[in-house]
Amino acid sequence: MNVLLVARRDLASYLNSASGYIIVSALLFILGLLFNALSYFAGPAYSHELLEAFFLYGFGTTLIAAVLLSMRSFAEEKSQGTDVLLETAPISEGEVVLGKYLAGVGMVSIFVLLTLYMPLLILWNGKVALGHLAVGYLGLLLVGSAGTAIGNFGSALSRSQVVAAVLSGVMVTFMMILGEIGSFSEAPLDAIHYLDLFDAHFPAFQGGRLELSGVVFYASVTAVFLWLTTQVLKGRRWQ
């Protein structure tokens, strides 16, 4: 119940603020431009190839949207002093983190759903398997979930939204080069490749293949960062 209270308030706050709209519309604009460029300048291509390219761009913009939207979640509470309201309420740190995560995921989901017109255009003008579409979107939502959890963690580390976004951006970037690092490493260190945010798991979603390992991976990244965020809040309280 407490989780939903926090989630509802934060979601309303996102929808009442200009920043949420600006981030979502700017990224939709960028994704739209990329999609247009892809459609007009890439030459003849199969519909599924276009869809795979769309999911590739969608991966990047969804991750950026998740980080930018969630940078305010804890940083703003701290800078405005409203974190006291949560700390003096009979609500656990875990419930606060989960509530804020759900609100962030809600906003990222709105962004992801608003991109739907682009693959629908491919569907309208070409031939696309609905399963491919569904799996690709599941992948985007999972990436959005992981990105929101990472963004929340970055936000819990600072009272500045800009610093929070930079910290989260650095973490996301690091997790996206783990594949490269793994390819230069020898066993057993090469296993680090499986922790790569893109290379190891997203290409399957991009191609329309539903792999349980990918679902488990993104769900695990989400869970780990939510746990870390909870620990940051608990640690700060008893300093």
């Binding site: 209270l5 706050s13 949560l86």
Partner: protein
């Protein structure tokens, strides 16, 4: 209601509060008075469950704040110096949200809200967005969020700071209403506010409890007495008599005209009764004996001037 025993709180190596002990009863309004940085806010934060004590025990309603923190949160209302508020919410939305966070059902909040709006003098502002309210109204909204769940203890950190005189007067009324049936702790460095609103005052200086008691008791602790005397007689003769008296430390003339003479008199020790008898004996007819308006301020400054660690 509150039992604080040997409370000490460190921030790193800095000792903000040292060995403070006091009790607060149900229905009592207690002021925590001290200069900036004295340790007032730290004590209130410990009571609110925001900071754990470094040592000592703090019990509220019979429960220890360190072990029963969650159980106590629904029994305590806390207003920090800068009222924490979500500026994009309306007054009703915000207070309702806090009520729900404190564990109330939607029906309980709906039933309690009109009473809180009335108590905190927010009638007519219920649907206004908080970001557009004046500073005084924001403070009242802060009070509303602190009492929406009908707590047994209300903690107010500098509730009148930044308010204009009219707002201070209104806020004083609101705080008195809040004190009906519950314990209230108020911190302030504004002495007149403490003396006019609180039943008892704790004087904090350099993290230590220097004194506690009513205004009268605190004044007595200084050992000196300061009174305003108005007598029937000549102003010049009266002043000369006062200055010649061995137990008079200072005389500030306060001519009132006509056949009356008046002065503010600082006495060496509390010898007020015998001193007044001497005045009558000297042939001056007593018309009025008053305590100066700034008496507590003098007492407070006297207490905080005492050497650190020294006894009063």
């Amino acid at each position: 209601m509150i039992g604080v025993k040997n409370l000490t709180r460190y921030y790193g190596d800095f000792r903000a509060v040292h060995d403070v002990s006091f009790d607060v009863s149900d229905g009592e309004i207690v002021g925590v008075l001290g200069l900036n940085g004295a340790g007032k806010s730290t004590i209130l934060k410990v009571l609110a469950g925001l900071l754990p004590p470094s040592s000592g025990t703090v019990t509220i309603d019979g429960l220890d704040v360190t072990t029963a923190s969650d159980a106590l949160k629904s029994r305590i209302g806390y207003l920090p110096e800068n009222p924490p508020q979500y500026r994009d919410m309306t007054v009703t939305e915000f207070v309702t949200y806090i009520g729900r966070l404190k564990g109330m059902t939607a029906a309980q909040v709906a039933k309690r809200l009109p009473e809180v709006i009335e108590t905190c003098a927010l009638r007519g502002r219920e649907h206004q967005v908080i970001g557009t309210l004046s500073h005084g109204y924001k403070k009242r909204v802060g009070l509303a969020q602190a009492v929406i769940h009908d707590p047994k203890l209300v903690i107010l950190d500098e509730p009148i700071s930044g308010l204009d005189p009219a707002q201070i007067k209104d806020m004083r009324k609101v705080i008195r209403k809040l004190g009906e049936g519950r314990a209230v702790m108020i911190s302030s460095h504004i002495l007149t506010e403490i003396s006019q609103t609180c039943d008892r005052v704790l004087v904090i200086h350099d993290g230590k409890l220097k004194a506690q008691g009513t205004e009268e008791e605190l004044t007595r602790q200084l050992g000196d007495a300061r009174i305003v005397l108005t007598v029937r007689g000549d102003q010049g003769e009266f002043e000369a008599w006062l200055r010649a008296h061995p137990k008079v430390e200072d005389v500030v003339p306060r001519p009132v005209g006509g056949a009356l003479a008046s002065a503010i008199v600082d006495l060496e020790g509390d010898i007020r009764e015998s001193f007044i008898a001497e005045i009558i004996g000297a042939g001056f007819g007593i018309r009025l004996v008053e305590v100066p308006d700034d008496e507590l301020e003098e007492a407070f400054l006297g207490l905080t001037r005492a050497p650190v660690g020294g006894e009063l």
